[in-house]
């Protein structure tokens, strides 16, 4: 597999470099090589990078001849690499867009195929000392979206203990993140984010910054909760019951910010990649999903390749 190259115009240099490195590596390596490993390149969602890492480690025990290389960067980054044909599978916490699928077909001649490998509830986090317990999607829009009026906690009737300036610190994600796009679509109704939010580069960073900042509010996968933060119950509209992000609420689809986690391949997967996805959708693979804090796919809903 080739590396992901940033642009056509500067292609020769990285290629030459990789070639030189490869030559150096071959020269230095021991000639008595072990049987070649099949390598699966897996890239994408930061939300899924932890679970994908554990999958790779567990799968290495089940199938030692296959090595899965996992990297993050965001769903957009993973899908962009898949569209270029640079990787074998992309993790995405959002659906692939029609334009991206079209581009992939144009570049590689193959259609991207997606598999639902788990579910996640996007939790809204605040600092553990914040007395707020639930939030409506409307309030979230007022806080996060462009043109929204809410800028202080007092406007929500909330008094944060031990804080003089109660300006809401909005913690968001960088725009390549699937979490960012999912939140924009499902919590903000596709309105843009207000300028000036802290756009962090990972699910974990969001939760950590919220945990360190009494006046912060942020969103991240439910698997990333730490003791310093609190997950809010979310109400889809005023008057409706508020729902906490739990496994049950994700399965019965009552939690408003639940989403599917996908794996995309180019064309129907074959060989090692097919075996790997089969394994991910087996009970062993789904147990990893559960242990990582996400919601596994019920056994009757698993669509294997």
């Amino acid at each position: 597999m080739t590396r992901v190259l940033p642009s056509k115009s500067i292609r020769p240099l990285p290629l030459a470099l990789t070639a030189a490195l490869a030559a150096a590596a071959c020269g230095g390596g021991s000639p008595a090589a072990k049987p070649a490993k099949t390598i699966i390149q897996d890239k994408g969602s930061d939300t899924m990078v932890n679970v994908a890492q554990v999958w790779a480690e567990e799968y290495a025990k089940a199938a030692p001849a296959v090595e899965v290389e996992v990297s993050g960067g965001g769903s957009g980054v993973g899908i962009a690499a898949l569209v270029k044909g640079a990787i074998d599978m992309a993790n995405a916490s959002r659906d692939i867009k029609p334009a991206e699928a079209e581009q992939a077909q144009k570049n590689t001649g193959k259609k991207p195929v997606g598999f639902t490998v788990g579910f996640d509830a996007l939790a809204v986090y605040v600092h553990k000392d914040n007395p707020l317990a639930e939030v409506t999607l409307e309030q979230l829009t007022e806080i996060f979206a462009e043109g929204g009026k809410t800028t202080r906690w007092s406007e929500l009737g909330v008094k944060i203990p031990g804080v003089s300036d109660d300006t809401i610190v909005r913690v968001s994600r960088q725009s390549s993140s699937g979490t960012y796009e999912f939140f924009r679509e499902h919590a903000l109704g596709n309105r843009d984010f207000k300028m000036g939010s802290r756009d962090l580069n990972g699910s974990k960073e969001v939760v950590e910054l919220v945990g360190a900042t009494p006046t912060a509010i942020g969103y991240s996968g439910m698997g990333y909760a730490i003791p310093a933060v609190k997950m809010l119950k979310v109400t889809s509209k005023a008057g409706a019951p508020s729902v906490a992000p739990t496994v049950a609420a994700v399965h019965d689809k009552t939690y408003p910010l639940a989403r599917s986690l996908h794996v995309y391949t180019l064309g129907v997967p074959q060989g090692a990649v097919k075996d790997y996805i089969d394994w991910i959708l087996s009970d062993a693979g789904q147990k990893v999903v559960e242990d990582s804090g996400y919601v596994p796919v019920p056994s009757d809903q698993r669509a294997k390749p």
Binding site: G76, N190, P214, A216
Partner: protein
């Protein structure tokens, strides 16, 4: 030139002189050509980089619906909006400028002070130790600086200033100041060292104190070198990416105070280029911000060059 190398007036003796072998002459020419080539290559590289970056950006510049005014002076940066894509880079430019300016406000006095101390005031042993330590400072990778900003500095800033979030303009500027210090110190120290000793002796002979010598004689004499040191520091501050990406909070925001989060042009390119599909508007606009960055550093260097020339002529 020593007398032996001067052309001998007597042709007979001149013929008897040993000739250099042909390979030595050719070898020397080859080396000369190689050196000339590496000198010219700097110009070629700069021109090529500018050309390639601009080439990627050009198609979007030529589009009718793209407004350069909005790009330069708009404060709304929504490259992936689902409803209304806007590319306004003013907040990013201001972010870069504010981080660089604040960093220089810390680094220039400290850097020049250190250089003056090293070159004029301290003992030989202290000097050697200080120089080694300062060079070590420049060996710390940028991502490690970012890490320090994200963990150590941010907690310190929250505790000392009561800011809600520790990753902000102040944090980024302190980190960048520390990163550009080694360059500023070592180049200004060289500049001060290059001032001939008889300047110092003359000053002392006139009854100047050490401070007067430094302030009235050495600093004016070394002015060009010191300016070059500061400008290389500015270049470092404007171009730094990884550390500011981690330490500034990455918020598209025109700062109103030292404790506001900002995002710089460089950090924005690093964070967004990976996701932007090759050839898309977003991709091209990112290259356009790269061109802007190039022009900013070019303008800084050109101004400095003109200032130095102007002062020389006077």
């Amino acid at each position: 030139m020593s007398p032996e190398n001067a052309p001998d007036p007597d042709p007979a003796r001149r013929a008897r002189r040993p000739r250099r072998p042909r390979w030595a002459i050719l070898g020397e020419r080859a080396i000369e050509a190689a050196i000339r080539l590496s000198g010219v290559s700097a110009i070629v590289f700069v021109a090529a980089i500018f050309f390639f970056v601009l080439r990627e950006a050009l198609p979007v510049l030529l589009r009718d619906e793209f407004s350069l005014g909005q790009f330069l002076f708009g404060t709304e940066w929504y490259p992936t909006s689902a409803t209304n894509v806007r590319y306004g880079s003013l907040a990013l430019t201001v972010g870069t400028a504010s981080v660089a300016a604040l960093a220089m406000a810390f680094a220039v006095p400290f850097g020049l002070g250190t250089a003056i101390y090293i070159s004029e005031f301290c003992s030989r042993r202290t000097r050697e130790t200080l120089k080694v330590v300062i060079e070590l400072l420049s060996a710390i990778p940028s991502v490690v600086w970012g890490f320090i900003g994200l963990t150590v500095m941010s907690k310190l800033i929250v505790r000392l200033t009561g800011a809600p979030v520790g990753v902000n303009l102040l944090n980024g500027a302190i980190i960048v100041a520390l990163m550009s210090l080694p360059i500023i110190v070592s180049i200004s120290e060289d500049a001060l060292k290059a001032v001939p000793d008889h300047y110092r002796e003359a000053a002392l002979a006139l009854g100047a104190t050490r401070w007067q010598t430094v302030w009235r004689v050495l600093l004016p004499a070394a002015k060009n070198g010191l300016l070059a040191a500061v400008l290389l520091g500015v270049g470092r501050a404007v171009g730094e990416t990884m550390a500011v990406l981690m330490a500034t909070g990455h918020a598209v925001n025109i700062p109103h105070g030292l404790l506001d989060s900002v995002r710089t042009l460089t950090a924005n390119i690093a964070a967004e280029l990976g996701e932007a599909p090759v050839g898309s508007d977003h991709y091209r606009v990112l290259f356009l911000t790269g061109t802007l960055l190039f022009l900013i550093t070019f303008a800084v260097n050109l101004t400095a060059d003109l200032v130095v020339r102007g002062s020389r002529r006077r």
